[in-house]
């Protein structure tokens, strides 16, 4: 059993970065996730593992620092919240185009604009439908507990390097701020410089003697070559879709209806499932863990098995619901419920919405 601690989600994320053997963290403060960099600065990870931590001048700088670090084969990470992640979008697009691995955590707050500092899930579209320019996708993991804030960090790094892509961890202010018991995984070793050089021959670590130099770029002025590059990226995204769909099924065996939710909303829905079942409504929960790649096939299977309806529960005006509708293709009822702007739905409200919009609707 690993070390047990009572921690905030943001602190667990930071501690997990150190333990996952990250080489660098670059970030800029923003509520509700400033504890990440505060924790890292206080922990002196350079003394613990040799990990570098730097407060950048902006999110624009931090995301481009990730390109420098990830591009030279190091495990690098940043975290921010919605407005900061918006600022990073050009950089994320470059990272995707240049196939540079890194991990970006978004502890989402209410928007649009400066919005507020309360939890929200309104950055779904930005996360899974592009955000930045060009044809690219971003693997995106959504923790629903402080435990997962820790556990998903090494998973995200593995995905980032396996597929040479930026990976997003998308939490919300609630997961970031709440304290829970967390079992920390043991310290993983950082790769030595020599290991990095051997493991990542594409990384710009200084041209190896007698070998080809390495160039990391997202530019190709020849349209035919750029088309090929896009097709190559697309093939990689298809492989990710094939292998990396993550979800959890809760009380779905006998379910007539399904809640579909992620992050904090999924936690709330677990309670809603209990409340509904006490009333005799057979409802289960499909908890989405990877927002992209999305569990479309699972939804298709449930649809084929005759589920009577899906209620997408999100702290947004309805974003993920569109992906559910795409999977369902009009074959059964799909609707959305969610409070927004930092207001969090109660489990009772969610049951009521199921009754009104799906069962009675």
């Amino acid at each position: 059993m690993g070390e047990l601690k009572l921690m905030k989600g943001n602190e667990a994320l930071a501690e997990a970065a150190i333990r996952a053997g990250a080489d660098g963290y670059f970030g800029y403060p923003i509520t509700p996730q400033s504890e990440v960099i505060e924790y890292l600065m206080a922990e002196k990870p350079f003394d613990r593992t040799g990990m570098v931590v730097l407060q950048a001048e902006s999110e624009v700088a931090s995301i481009n620092m990730l390109y420098g670090g990830g591009g030279s084969g190091k495990k690098v990470m940043t975290s921010s919240s919605s407005p900061g992640i918006s600022l990073m979008q050009e950089g994320i697009s470059y990272l995707a185009g240049g196939e540079v691995p890194c991990v970006i955590a978004n502890v989402v707050r209410g928007g649009p604009g400066l919005g507020d500092i309360q939890p929200a899930q309104s950055d779904y579209f930005q996360s899974v439908k592009g955000g930045g320019h060009g044809d690219y996708r971003l693997p995106c993991l959504a923790p629903a507990s402080v435990q997962e804030m820790s556990d998903f960090v090494p998973v995200a790094f593995d995905l980032a390097f396996k597929y040479r892509t930026p990976v997003l961890i998308i939490a919300d202010g609630l997961i970031g701020q709440m304290m829970e018991k967390v079992e920390l995984f043991d310290q993983m070793p950082r790769l030595t410089d020599q290991e990095v050089i051997e493991k990542y021959p594409w990384a710009t670590t200084g041209k190896p003697k007698g070998k080809e130099r390495r160039i990391l770029t997202s530019l190709d002025l020849d349209p035919h070559k750029l088309e090929k590059h896009n097709q190559h990226l697309h093939a990689k995204y298809n492989e990710i879709k094939e292998n990396e769909v993550r979800y959890e099924l809760i009380d779905t065996d006998d379910a007539d209806y399904l809640f579909v939710a992620y992050g904090s909303s999924a936690r709330i829905c677990q309670k809603s499932v209990k409340l509904a079942r006490e009333k005799g409504i057979k409802v289960g929960l499909l908890r989405i863990i990877s927002l992209w790649p999305f569990a479309s096939d699972v939804i298709k299977e449930f649809t084929a098995k005759g589920i009577k309806g899906f209620l997408s529960v999100e702290m947004s005006m309805g974003q993920m619901v569109e992906d559910i509708q795409l999977a369902v293709q009009g074959k059964t009822k799909v609707d959305h419920f969610g409070r927004v702007g930092g207001v969090i739905h109660s489990p009772e409200e969610v049951v009521e919405a199921l009754e009104q919009k799906i069962i009675g609707g």
């Binding site: 001048e57 624009v60 700088a61 620092m65 420098g68 050009e90």
Partner: protein, 263 residues
């Protein structure tokens, strides 16, 4: 007497000067007469002479020199417009024993990337910045740059730069030279053999500082021409540069060993 052919001349014993092997054989994409090519070459000669070809990571900008990585025969990353110092910061911090530099134009370094430039300087990142100041946006077709001179005509200041409404040419090099994080600042040119020799000495000193682990950033501005953007022949552009750019951007060392040079 038998006629002398080119082949008779190209012999090892006749060799007086050769292209550094750290420049690729790719034809430069720069307009004939442009200073970028010389600046590339001097930088690469320095890396070769310092024996650092296997330990250097360069960061290319967005601008005419976006393709620097095609010509510089070393490991390189291509940064988003203005963000090269952010790349370099992370590479150097994570690979402190490597030599790291950025190569940037004036739009890249002194407009969209001003924040990255100033903060990399202010943190004293142990990198080299090579800054090509040609007073214009070459790549996008000759628009006004932060460094465009007063009254200078560009496609976005067609009646000349009106400083009252368009601001003054930004002497970013003087600005950053005042920061304690900066070790060495020199302004050079590459339009004549004499200027190029001086520029090379300055570039070498900048890289030597980094290799010697001297604290802080070394910054080389190269005042250069953009004959296409300025709509002049290469020769005219060099004369115009001497007459107009050098008085506003005087050449020479500005800061050495962390100390400003008294003028």
């Amino acid at each position: 007497m038998a006629e002398l052919s080119v082949q008779d001349i190209i012999k090892p014993e006749n060799l007086v000067y050769e292209k550094t092997k750290l420049m690729t054989d790719k034809t430069l994409s720069y307009c004939p007469g442009c200073g970028h090519g010389t600046a590339h070459r001097l930088t690469m000669e320095v890396i070769e002479e310092l024996g650092k070809e296997n330990d250097t990571i360069g960061i290319a900008p967005v601008g005419c020199s976006v393709l620097a990585y095609e010509f510089m025969n070393i490991d390189m990353q291509q940064a988003a417009h203005g963000r090269a110092p952010a790349h370099a910061t992370a590479v150097k911090r994570l690979w402190p024993n490597k030599v790291v530099f950025t190569y940037q134009g004036d739009g890249d370094l002194a407009a969209i990337g001003t924040a990255e430039t100033i903060h990399a300087c202010n943190r004293g990142e142990q990198i080299v910045i090579i800054f090509i100041n040609n007073g214009i946006y070459g790549m996008t077709g000759g628009q006004m740059a932060p460094t465009t001179l007063p009254e200078m005509k560009t496609s976005t200041s067609p009646f000349g730069r009106d400083v009252a409404s368009m601001g003054y040419p930004l002497k970013i090099t003087e600005l950053i030279s005042n920061l304690p994080g900066v070790q060495y600042v020199s302004r050079q040119a590459v339009h004549s053999p004499a200027a190029a020799r001086k520029a090379k000495r300055a570039i070498k000193k900048a890289f030597q500082n980094q290799i010697d682990n001297k604290p802080g950033l070394s910054f080389i501005e190269i005042v250069s021409n953009c004959n296409s953007g300025w709509k002049m022949t290469p020769n005219d552009s060099n004369e115009w540069m001497e007459e107009n750019m050098f008085p506003y951007y005087p050449l020479g060392d500005i800061k050495v060993d962390g100390k400003l040079i008294e003028k």
